[in-house]
Structures are given as C-alpha cells and as structure tokens.
C-alpha cells in the first residue's frame, strides 16, 4: 500500500490488536416509513434491516445470500456508509465509520470499494473508460500527477483483462461482461483492502458470469483483497466465498463456513432455500 494512504490512519487503528476484525457491524437497523394511510398516528415502517451484526476478517470472503426484499442491498449500503442506519455501528479496524460529509469518510473510501449489479447503468455514459476508472483516484485525492494516474489506470485495466487503449472509448461500445470488468478496474484503482460486490454477476450471461467470478477470485488472491459478495445465487457464493451469511427478511438467519452451511444448514429457512435451487439432474 503506498505510503500516503496509511499516513493519516489514526493511532487507534494502527495499534488495533489481532482480535479486531477488518470490518465489523454491530446491531445494524434500518427501516423506511411507508406512505401515510391515516391522518393521525405514526406512519407504518418497513424494517429493511433488523439488528444485523457481522465480522469480516482480513483476507476472508464473506457471501451475503438472501432473496429480494431480504435487505441485502440496504445492508451493503449501511456497511459502506452510503446510507445512515437507524441504530448500530460499523467499524473498520476498530475505527467507527460514521456516515456524514463525503470528506469525513475519505479515509474509509480508500479502504473499501464497490462493484454494482448492472454494468449498463453503473458506468457514466458520457465519461470515457479511462476517466471513469480514474475518478475514485481523483475524488480521494490519491491520484498524483497525470502520468501516475494514467499508469495506474493502465495497470488496473490490464489486471482485469482489458487493453489500456480501451480507456479512450465510451461504455456503450462494450459488452456487458467487459463493462463489469471496467467497473471492477474502477473499484481496484485506489488499492482498497475490501471489495464489495452487490450482485456483481447476476446481470451477466451464464458463460460470461463464470469468467467474471474467476477474475474476482484471482484478484482477491493477487491483490490481497477481502471480498464481500451479495447474491441471491448460491452457486456464486459457493464459488467465491469461504464464509456465508443467510439474510431473511432483514435478519441473519444463519452465519458460518460455506461448506458447512450449504451441506448441513441449521436454520429451516436456509434448508428451504437450498431445496428450492434447481439442480442439473445429471
């Protein structure tokens, strides 16, 4: 990690003992007011995330599995301080990540980046690929001069299997799979320690999906990344994650090593989920 990004880590983080996890969430809660149906009285609320706690050790790969409405995306936004929880805290290396002005969170943004689901809308149509990939560097003020930025952009584009010359073109000139690789390159640019994928492959075709999953696995190894992958697809989690957390209606149904949870589920909902997955008969 280049010197300048660790420079301003506060004292308590550097001194964090071995038992302090890389990322920890305690008692996260988030609800949304439903439209008012009566003139008086409190508005009904939909609890998207109900008291979720989790720990992610350095170098681990946590899968968050759940069906639509289970609160997966809300949880991811809370973990990355892109949304304010009603209750609960998120800590990175022991230091609390408090949602607020973007500048107050720069230190954390350098450590954690995200790849969103739909490659068709997660890239700005009017920005060249190079500028899009360089944006986090500029926004976090770690870009350095033009040459350093260009070099880093070329480096991450190559790391995701694309030619640096593609930097001059626009997103609409690429396929879904290529655009997702560009989004991954953008997330890698500021050398994060944590890479979060919110349904990173579910918008892709089956054949392309396998390639992108392999890419994520390889990058996790080569870049020493800690992965958090949100998905409704158990196959994706089995492929990438050694830990899995089953989310059901905003609460943690079950949490444990992928091998154990997928073969010997403890919670009835997990069992129902596993039985429902269509399997190749042969």
């Amino acid at each position: 990690m280049t010197a300048d990004t660790t420079g301003d880590m506060t004292a308590d983080m550097a001194a964090a003992g071995p038992d302090v996890p890389l990322l920890e969430a305690v008692g996260l809660r988030r609800g949304y007011p439903l439209p008012r149906t009566s003139l008086t009285g409190r508005r009904a609320r939909r609890e998207a995330v109900r008291d979720v706690s989790l720990r992610v050790e350095e170098g681990a790969a946590l899968g968050i599995v759940g069906e639509s409405g289970a609160g997966k995306s809300t949880l991811v936004r809370l973990l990355l301080a892109l949304d304010r929880p009603d209750a609960g805290t998120v800590r990175y290396r022991g230091r609390e990540v408090r949602p607020g002005r973007p500048s107050s969170l720069r230190w954390f943004r350098r450590e954690a980046q995200i790849v969103l689901q739909d490659p068709m809308s997660s890239l700005d149509p009017r920005m060249t690929v190079a500028r899009a990939v360089a944006e986090p560097l500029r926004a976090l003020g770690v870009a350095g001069d033009r040459a350093a930025t260009a070099a880093r952009v070329a480096e991450v584009l190559t790391a995701v299997g694309l030619e640096p010359e593609m930097g001059r073109r626009y997103p609409h000139e690429f396929s879904g799979g290529q655009r997702q690789r560009i989004a991954i390159a953008r997330a890698l640019a500021p050398r994060p320690r944590i890479l979060v994928g919110d349904e990173p492959v579910s918008a892709l075709d089956v054949s392309v999906r396998a390639q992108v999953l392999d890419l994520l696995a390889r990058l996790a190894a080569t870049e020493g990344l800690t992965l958090i992958v949100v998905s409704h697809d158990l196959g994706v989690v089995r492929h990438l994650c050694d830990q899995v957390l089953i989310l059901h209606e905003g609460a943690v149904a079950e949490h444990g090593p992928t091998a154990r949870v997928l073969t010997d589920p403890a919670h009835p909902y997990t069992r129902r989920l596993l039985d429902a997955v269509p399997r190749l008969p042969v």
Partner: protein, 317 residues
C-alpha cells in the same frame, strides 16, 4: 380515495391560492411612485392625493391592505375599480358570459380533435398519413393563435361571408343565434391552437401504450390488435393525457385573452387588456387572481380525477 390525499391536496391548493394572491398583491405594489400618483395623474394636488390615498386605503400598512382585499375576495368581493368605482365582481360576472362559453367549448372541441387524431397518428406511425397528421400537429403548434384567428376570419368571414368576422352582439345572449355565430370562429381558433399541442401528447401516450407488454398479453388471449387497443390501450393512454390537461388550462386562458383581442369579444381577457392600459390596478389584481385561481382549482380537480381513475395512485397518498 384515502382522505389523507384529499385533505393534503386541498390544503396544498389553499396554500397555492394564498401564495399566488400574495405574489400578485406584492407585484402590483412594486411601484416606482404610489398608486394614488398613478391614478391621480401628474397634475393632482397633494390634498387630492391625500383624499385619493384615503379612499383607496393605500395610507394603511400593506399587510392590512392585503388582509382586507383577501378577506373581500373570500366573500366574492374583488374590490372596486379605481377609475369608476364599479364592483370588480359584477364586471367579471358580466364578462364571463362571453369568456366561459368560449373557453369551455374550445376545450371540449380541442380534446375531440386531438384524441382521435393523436391516436391515429400513433397507430399509423409508419404510414405516410400517420406522419402527415403529426406534421400537421407540428405546424399547428407553430401558428400563433391570434394569426390563426385572423386567417380564419379572412377565409370564412371575409371571402365566404359565412360568419361574422369580429365582435359580439351588444345585447349579449338575447339572440342566442347571433351570439353563437359570433363565437364560432373564436372557438375554432382557440380549439385548433389547443388541439395542436394536445395531439402531440396523445400521440406519444398512445405510442407508449402500443409497446406495453399487457397489450401483447391481450393479443395472446385472442384479441386482435385493434380490440386489444380499444379494450386495454385506451384507458391506459388516457392517464398521461388527463394529467397534461391540467397544464393546458393555463395556455387555454392565455389563448382566450388573445382570441378575445383578435375577434374583439367583450370578455374577461379584453377587459383585462383595457384595465392594464388604464392602470386600473385593483381591477387588474382581481381579474388576474380570478384567472390564475381558476387555473389552480381546475388543475387540482384534474389531479384528483387522475388519482381516482388510476388504482395505483388511489392507494398511495
């Protein structure tokens, strides 16, 4: 219809009416001099100005004047003309006898023209006649309302001598036949101007519905394209058109003022033009509030109708 929505919407309407009345009141008070000097004229002596101020009540603080005026409006009293002391309300009532039939008939005619033509232009989008209809709409939008009125007069009144070119019978609707005849060209002018704008909305709304999945489901059930459009498409296309009607009211009223001038019809619009010329600020204030109030009220009515007609909106306040 959840009462919550109704109460909130009416509350918003009240707030809007208050806001607009305040806006008009303040705008008319941003005078270089004061009302009295304008009315009294340059040569008025200070004493006369003082009497005038007292009569017009402009010597009292602004909020009091506003409260008095607004209070009056709520009871239907739009104040008295500064020139001849006539009650603004009575004047308005007399003029509405021309303006109301003009605008209402024109609005109905505009919809009657725009909906079928708009739907036809959408259905026949690829065919030349469909393109011709939408080109006609495009042209209609580009023609200034008053010029359209003049040109219609030239053709139907001057050359064909079928209809009166201008004016309205002095005795109003005493002879309904003559009065109606004098409104034919103005209504047609206003209706065509409105229809041109509406046609484009109806066309795009219909185009959108044509691509809707539920139309394909209707055909999959055994309906032909035409039957599917009639039974499923029409109501869905009506939704955006209804909501655009709300916005069209404002341009309908502006159109009425211009048409009344072009055909010199003694309506609210022509009166307002004269009042502005004579700087009769109290009458201008009353008329402008009435017209903009009408726009807001009708807009709210249409918004409520729109919510009633669409079950998706009916549930969410």
């Amino acid at each position: 219809m959840t009462p919550v929505f109704l109460v909130r919407r009416l509350g918003l309407l009240a707030a809007a009416l208050f806001g607009v009345s305040l806006l008009i009141f303040v705008l008319l008070r941003l005078l270089p001099g004061d009302v009295a000097t304008i009315v009294g004229g340059v040569q008025a002596t200070p004493e006369q100005l003082a009497v005038l101020r007292e009569r017009l009540g402009t010597d009292r603080p602004l909020p009091v004047q506003y409260a008095e005026w607004a209070g009056g409006v709520l009871t239907g009293d739009f104040g008295r003309s500064m020139l001849n002391g006539v009650s603004v309300t009575d004047e308005l009532a007399r003029k509405l006898v021309v303006t109301l039939p003009l605008t209402l008939t024109a609005a109905v005619l505009a919809v009657a023209i725009a909906v079928p033509l708009g739907a036809y232009a959408a259905l026949r989008q690829r065919a030349p006649d469909g393109a011709a209809v939408s080109a006609l709409g495009q042209l209609g939008v580009a023609v200034p309302t008053f010029w359209m009125g003049i040109m219609l007069s030239v053709v139907f009144a001057v050359q064909l001598r079928l209809l009166p070119a201008q004016g309205f019978p002095a005795d109003g609707w005493a002879e309904p036949g003559r009065a109606a005849a004098s409104l034919v060209l103005p209504v047609l002018t206003l209706a065509l101007a409105q229809a041109a704008v509406l046609l484009r909305f109806v066309r795009s709304a219909t185009l959108e519905v044509l691509q809707a999945d539920f139309l394909r489901t209707a055909r999959a059930k055994g309906l032909t394209t035409g039957a599917a459009l009639l039974r499923h498409g029409l109501r869905n296309a009506a939704m955006p058109v209804v909501s655009v009607l709300g916005i069209q009211i404002a341009s309908l009223i502006v159109g009425a003022v211009v048409v009344e001038q072009a055909f010199s019809l003694p309506g609210v619009g022509k009166m307002l033009l004269a009042d502005v010329g004579n700087r009769d600020l109290v009458k201008v204030q009353g008329t402008v509030l009435l017209l903009s109030g009408l726009v807001l009220v009708l807009g709210t009515v249409i918004d409520i109708v729109h919510r009633l007609a669409d079950p998706r909106l009916r549930d969410t306040p």
